[in-house]
């Protein structure tokens, strides 16, 4: 029967790409070099003071296959801990990222996909993070976060989790002050090498109290573009391009140098091209909302 129901096997691929885009786009990269500041927007890593977070995300994705639209939805929930092990004189720190719990679900017209993620619980990786929240390099353990997202397809989420932190300017700012951040990042997802370019306009909006913690609220809006290509284990040769819009707020505890809350919305219009016998060019759009919240201080 002429029925457009092939999307489900590509849902995981594209959701993975979108998730990568969302988490990468929520990062900031300062134009100016980082420098230590006693106050202001800068992370103050401290050995013996781990930070525990939860993150919820929801993505709704519409794909067009042979002129018919198909909608997929995905939800994920994770809890993780960031535990500094060593702080360097320049303010950077070796930080252990530990995944405390995770669950995810993908809904498609052809049924649900539930990636097997339980094996990732308790796994750790170590990153070198700057005082602006940037991942300078992965020190160890990235291989611990590889998982199967769909039949015959694996991906690694280590890069994504480490970038949940909002990027901050790394200097004092005043209420009402604006700045522009630009970032170019290359990541590998679902077998594709993807380059993400983000340009985000941010502004320090106000001082607000969140969960009884005095914070500085920062609002950001921006655009991003993605380009990628490579060999996906399931679909074969693929090419991906997209353009998106992002908007969001984060609340930063300037006194203790820690992220308290991060909320973002990301809209992406993209095209996925698959070579081989299937030979399809599939337009898609997705909307992702993400919230990361500081839980407790251990």
């Amino acid at each position: 029967m002429s029925s457009i129901r092939r999307n489900s096997r590509y849902a995981g691929i594209v959701v993975g790409l979108v998730a990568s885009a969302v988490l990468l786009s929520s990062c900031a990269h300062i134009k100016k070099p980082a420098r230590r500041a006693e106050v202001g927007l800068v992370y103050k890593w401290e050995v013996g003071k781990p930070l525990r977070y939860e993150m919820k995300s929801h993505t709704e994705q519409n794909m067009e296959m042979m002129g018919q639209g198909i909608t997929n939805k995905s939800d994920s929930y994770i809890q993780f801990t960031l535990e500094p092990k060593k702080v360097n004189p320049d303010g950077s720190a070796e930080v252990v990222f530990r995944l405390d719990s995770i669950s995810a679900q993908i809904q498609s017209p052809m049924g649900n996909m539930n990636p097997d993620l339980k094996s990732l619980t308790g796994k750790e990786a170590v990153f070198l993070l700057s005082s602006t929240g940037k991942v300078l390099r992965t020190i160890s353990g990235a291989e611990n976060f590889e998982y199967q997202i769909a039949q015959g397809m694996k991906t690694n989420m280590s890069q994504n989790f480490s970038r949940v932190l909002a990027r901050v300017p790394g200097r004092p700012v005043q209420i009402g002050e604006k700045w522009v951040i630009r970032d170019t990042t290359t990541t590998t997802q679902s077998g594709l090498d993807i380059q993400v370019v983000v340009s985000r306009n941010e502004q320090a909006v106000a001082k607000e109290v969140v969960a009884k913690i005095p914070c500085l609220k920062v609002h950001g809006e921006g655009e991003m573009s993605m380009d990628g290509s490579g060999q996906n284990p399931m679909a074969g040769q693929m090419s991906f391009e997209g353009d998106g819009r992002l908007t969001g707020d984060y609340w930063f505890d300037t006194a203790h140098g820690r992220l308290v809350k991060n909320q973002a919305k990301f809209e992406l219009e993209a095209t996925v091209a698959i070579a081989g016998q299937q030979n399809m060019t599939m337009p898609m759009e997705s909307v992702t909302t993400l919230t990361a919240t500081l839980l407790t201080e251990k």
Partner: protein
């Protein structure tokens, strides 16, 4: 893998024995109650299973259109027709009806402009417009008419074309369908109906006389601002070896130039008439009342595509009718024999149910009529279509290049997915198209004993009978509905129910027998139209708006 099929020799021997035994026995029943019996009994679960096992074998690699394996499947079907003593159709020298498909790529120039009396909007390729994959090549210039979602859906009491003349016009429409995210019954709520497909929108526009088509992404439920890119050549990163989209080489009467525009352009077009893009959609969705109107805009659409043509095969067998006065009329029994190939050249989609099962049914029914001593008065055509999964390619080609005139085609019986789900249930669509035909199903079923439902009506536009319906041929669609293995690698022969296929194939055989012998032709009615014509006539149905432009081609 070579196919050694011992079945044909066995079938001939068995049929001969049956004929001898039957001839030696005194007739217990009146002759007219058993003229179909031999053929009926020859349809067996064992042989149906065998055909599926062959067609859905891994070596067939999913029978994609086009592919060497599709050729192999065509050869198998052809050999079965030949073994059974069937003939090529008049006008063909073999069992193959060849039709062209083309891999298209964007050529140049592609230009879209919109004109108001004092303004001209020049659109940029990719940012402002993208040619549809279905678009014909050429240039069209005409006034623009907004037609809502471009849907004619009498089953939902909704018609964007009601009361508006789009002959010779370019139609502007939203993508998708009304109340896309609404959980109410209208348009089945969040589950997309066939009306949301671009192909159906295009065919509907053609049926109403439009000469061009413009899509704009509906704003309330979709965030995309740009037109979706469907051309590999417009990607920033090109894939080596990427093939271009496959399409049917349509007849000129089925060619429509179409583009998808950005929301910015869509907004501009509607503002020319004092309307708002989002407000219009909101109004249509809230009331389910179409809001179609002409715009003061002249559009010129120039789309240039070029392509490389390949030939694909419908496999057709013919059985002449027994009555000299009626043998010029034909009943068609059809099924598509293609599926969707492989993924990454490693995962094979065997398509046992979709649609090796229906193809097997056609083979067994053809054999049944060939073996049966009595022949129907009308002639029979058995057609296995290629390219169904690509957009009803084979049947769309056939209805524009029919081997029998369409006004001599009394009925078309389509088998698509007949081997899964409840072991004693079949769904038959077409009741509202031809009540007489459907009544034959119910009468014949007294000899088979299936539970017959009409759930397949919701898939009415998704298989080959729809091509015949569009040409006003009475149709029936046999289907056993969706299942979790549909269009997955797990649609394999080990999951089919051959006994169910036997019942459905025998049911279809009996229906074809009755249609082939009836003195009256079944009537045709458009979906949603009153079942009685103004004069109470039966036959090819009443005149409607779609037929005024030319009637049967």
């Amino acid at each position: 893998m070579n196919f050694h099929d011992p079945a044909p020799a066995w079938r001939v021997v068995r049929a001969t024995l049956l004929a001898v035994l039957l001839g030696a026995l005194p007739l217990q029943l009146p002759a007219q109650s058993t003229p179909w019996q031999t053929g009926f009994q020859s349809i067996t679960a064992r042989e149906l299973y065998h055909h599926v096992a062959v067609l859905a074998d891994d070596s067939m690699r999913g029978r994609n259109t086009p592919s060497p394996e599709l050729e192999k499947a065509a050869a198998y079907i052809s050999s079965q027709f030949s073994h059974d003593g069937l003939q090529p159709a008049p006008g063909l020298s073999s069992f193959y009806q060849l039709f062209p498909v083309v891999r298209t790529r964007l050529s140049s120039p592609n230009v879209v402009t919109f004109e108001l009396p004092d303004t001209v909007l020049h659109c940029r390729l990719k940012q402002d417009f993208v040619p549809l994959q279905l678009s014909a090549s050429g240039t069209v210039r005409a006034r623009v008419v907004f037609v809502g979602y471009g849907i004619s859906a009498p089953e939902f009491n909704y018609d964007d074309y009601a009361g508006i003349d789009v002959h010779g016009k370019i139609v502007l429409m939203f993508t998708h369908e009304p109340r896309e995210r609404d959980s109410t019954d209208a348009f089945l709520g969040p589950k997309a109906t066939e009306h949301s497909k671009n192909l159906i929108k295009m065919l509907t526009a053609l049926d109403h006389g439009a000469v061009g088509m413009i899509l704009v992404t509906d704003p309330l439920n979709h965030i995309a601002r740009r037109p979706p890119n469907v051309w590999p050549s417009l990607m920033r990163r090109k894939l080596p070896g990427m093939k271009t989209p496959l399409r049917l080489v349509e007849e000129k009467s089925e060619a429509l130039i179409g583009v998808h525009v950005s929301k910015r352009v869509g907004k501009w077009l509607l503002e020319s008439a004092g309307a708002d893009l989002a407000a219009l959609q909101r109004e249509i969705d809230s009331t389910l009342v179409p809001h179609s109107f002409p715009l003061p805009v002249t559009a010129e659409l120039q789309v240039m595509v070029e392509g490389d043509t390949e030939l694909v095969k419908n496999v057709v067998a013919y059985l002449p009718g027994s009555d000299p006065k009626q043998r010029d009329q034909v009943v068609i029994v059809g099924a598509h024999y293609d599926h969707i190939g492989t993924a990454n050249d490693t995962v094979i989609y065997n398509g046992a149910d979709d649609n090796a099962s229906g193809t097997s049914g056609v083979l067994e029914i053809a054999q049944a009529f060939a073996l049966n001593p009595a022949r129907p008065k009308r002639s029979l055509l058995f057609i296995c279509f290629a390219g169904e999964e690509k957009g009803l390619f084979g049947s769309r080609y056939y209805v524009h290049n029919p081997l029998f005139p369409l006004d001599s085609t009394v009925a078309m019986i389509n088998l698509d997915m007949i081997s899964r789900n409840d072991s004693n249930q079949v769904s038959v669509a077409g009741k509202n198209v031809s009540p007489e035909l459907f009544n034959l199903v119910e009468e014949a079923n007294t000899r088979v004993g299936l539970e017959v439902t009409t759930e397949a009506e919701k898939f009415f536009r998704q298989s080959d009978h729809y091509s015949f319906y569009r040409k006003r041929v009475p149709v029936l669609f046999f289907n056993t509905l969706e299942h979790p293995d549909l269009h997955k690698p797990t649609d394999d022969v080990n999951k089919i129910i051959p006994e169910k296929m036997q019942k459905i194939s025998r049911l279809a055989y009996l229906v074809v027998w009755e249609v082939g012998n009836s003195s009256e032709r079944p009537s045709f009615h458009e979906i949603g139209a009153d079942s009685k014509t103004a004069s109470g006539e039966t036959g090819q149905g009443k005149q409607t708006k779609t037929s005024e432009k030319g009637g049967m081609p």
